[in-house]
């Protein structure tokens, strides 16, 4: 019986991810909009620093990249529940389990965030110079950041989508929840930039993984209560 339910859940998740991918592909304006958003924000940063990258010291470079990624992810993930219309939600309500929906959304948003974060990193490094010394470690921190942002923001966006002024609420609710994660990520990626020994970032890495696990578990447990309304 348990085996069977797990199989059904897995099938639901795969089906829902496919549905999100197809939807994204059909309405390309959303994805293109996000890509353009990344591009213009990076370019605005480049112009605001007066095109002199010598005043852009390493900690500022790092902090700015993460702030850009934070705003990109808030904007990208905010729509994950708001774009669904009432009829479709009602339809899902009758055919799939809430656990399937939240897990599918988390996985899909993680993939989307990974894509956006990588593009952002490449473009940012291309325009503003790339002082990173330990690139694989930096990419690992970006991977963890994408996973962490998308897990916590998916839950927040489902909360915010129920309220009246959801876009403001999305920012207000998500920033304090995300700050611990952001601090860890900035520290870890700074270590990678300076080319420090990888064992120096082990503490941050483990804590980030632990926070991610807590967030996913809590989302999995709590989402059914949100879904009912």
């Amino acid at each position: 019986m348990g085996q069977n339910r797990k199989k059904v859940l897995l099938k639901e998740i795969l089906y829902l991810i496919r549905k999100d991918l197809v939807l994204e592909w059909r309405q390309k304006y959303a994805l293109n909009g996000m890509l353009l958003y990344v591009g213009s924000v990076v370019f605005v940063c480049y112009l605001s620093f007066g095109m002199r990258s010598n005043i852009l010291v390493a900690p500022v470079w790092n902090a700015m990249l993460w702030i850009i990624l934070l705003f990109v992810s808030v904007n990208a993930i905010a729509k994950s529940f708001m774009q669904e219309n009432r009829g479709r939600l009602l339809y899902f309500y009758s055919i799939v389990s809430p656990q399937g929906i939240i897990l599918a959304k988390i996985i899909y948003n993680t993939a989307l965030m990974l894509l956006l974060a990588l593009i952002c990193f490449v473009f940012y490094g291309f325009v503003l110079g790339n002082p990173v010394q330990d690139v694989p470690m930096f990419l690992l921190s970006i991977l963890l950041g994408a996973v962490g942002f998308s897990t916590s923001l998916t839950m927040i966006s489902s909360i915010a989508s129920k309220a009246a002024n959801s876009s403001t609420l999305m920012a207000v609710l998500s920033f304090p929840v995300i700050v611990p994660m952001l601090l860890m990520l900035i520290k870890m990626s700074k270590n990678a930039m300076d080319g420090l020994n990888r064992s120096a970032s082990l503490d941050e890495l483990l804590t980030l993984l632990a926070i991610n696990m807590i967030v996913v578990t809590v989302s999995y447990i709590l989402f059914p209560y949100l879904w009912r309304s």
């Binding site: 916590s152 839950m155 927040i156 909360i159 129920k162 309220a163 009246a164 002024n165 609420l169 207000v172 609710l173 920033f175 304090p176 929840v177 700050v179 611990p180 601090l183 503490d203 941050e204 804590t207 632990a210 926070i211 807590i214 967030v215 809590v218 989302s219 709590l222 209560y225 949100l226 009912r228 309304s229």
Partner: protein
């Protein structure tokens, strides 16, 4: 009267805290000097805040299992009193920091963590006020309360331990145990923690009873 013994205990303990806290002997230490008495007022605020916010989360969980008006009201009032304790904790801490560290705000990890913690609960208040329908408001804010509390724990307990803090007991600063050679601080500190926490519970108790009565009144009118 038998049910109210803890209120009398709260009053007695708080009177004791204020009198003994101001008059008793404290260890003479450089920099800290007499400000060490802030231990009886600043630190219990954090103990009280964490306990009362935990109460709030417990009632949010209870609400999701058994949606009654009572559970929702207690969760909400406890969150508000938790915020009050948090603000008082920050204010007493900042005043103390001005005299010992030289700045009101010196980018200490514990200061930052508590400011972020308060932001989470302010967001909770904003979220609550953006719903009109009572049941939806109660359920969704209960979900956020639990979610935010789960995210707050790593903030309060793990982050300050990863980086050095200016607080006594962190980053090479001597802590409670080294100051307190003759246990004179503990004699006042433990009653202070219990007294302030009981006062917080008392406020939550009175406010939620009032709120439940008010809602019942609106229903019948």
């Amino acid at each position: 009267m038998k049910k109210n013994w803890w209120k009398a205990l709260a009053v007695v303990l708080l009177v004791f805290t204020v009198v003994a806290g101001m008059l008793s002997n404290v260890p003479r230490l450089a920099i800290l000097n007499e400000t060490i008495r802030n231990l009886y007022f600043h630190v219990p605020m954090w103990f009280g805040m964490i306990l009362i916010l935990t109460t709030s989360v417990v009632y949010s969980i209870k609400y999701l299992r058994n949606p009654t008006v009572k559970n929702d009201v207690i969760a909400f009032e406890a969150a508000k009193v938790g915020i009050l304790f948090g603000v008082l904790g920050i204010v007493t801490g900042m005043e103390w920091a001005k005299f010992t560290w030289g700045e009101y705000w010196s980018n200490d990890p514990k200061q930052n963590a508590s400011a972020i913690g308060l932001l989470i609960y302010f967001a909770y208040l904003v979220l609550r006020s953006s719903f009109n329908e009572q049941q939806q408001r109660a359920r969704i804010s209960a979900v956020y309360n639990i979610f935010a509390f789960a995210a707050l724990i790593p903030l309060l307990f793990i982050l300050p331990r990863l980086t050095d803090s200016l607080h006594p007991g962190n980053g090479g600063n001597p802590g409670f145990n080294t100051y307190d050679l003759d246990s004179s601080l503990r004699m006042v500190f433990y009653p202070a923690v219990i007294g302030w926490t009981l006062l917080g519970i008392w406020i939550v108790n009175v406010k939620s009873r009032l709120e439940i009565l008010r809602q019942r009144l609106y229903e019948t009118v």
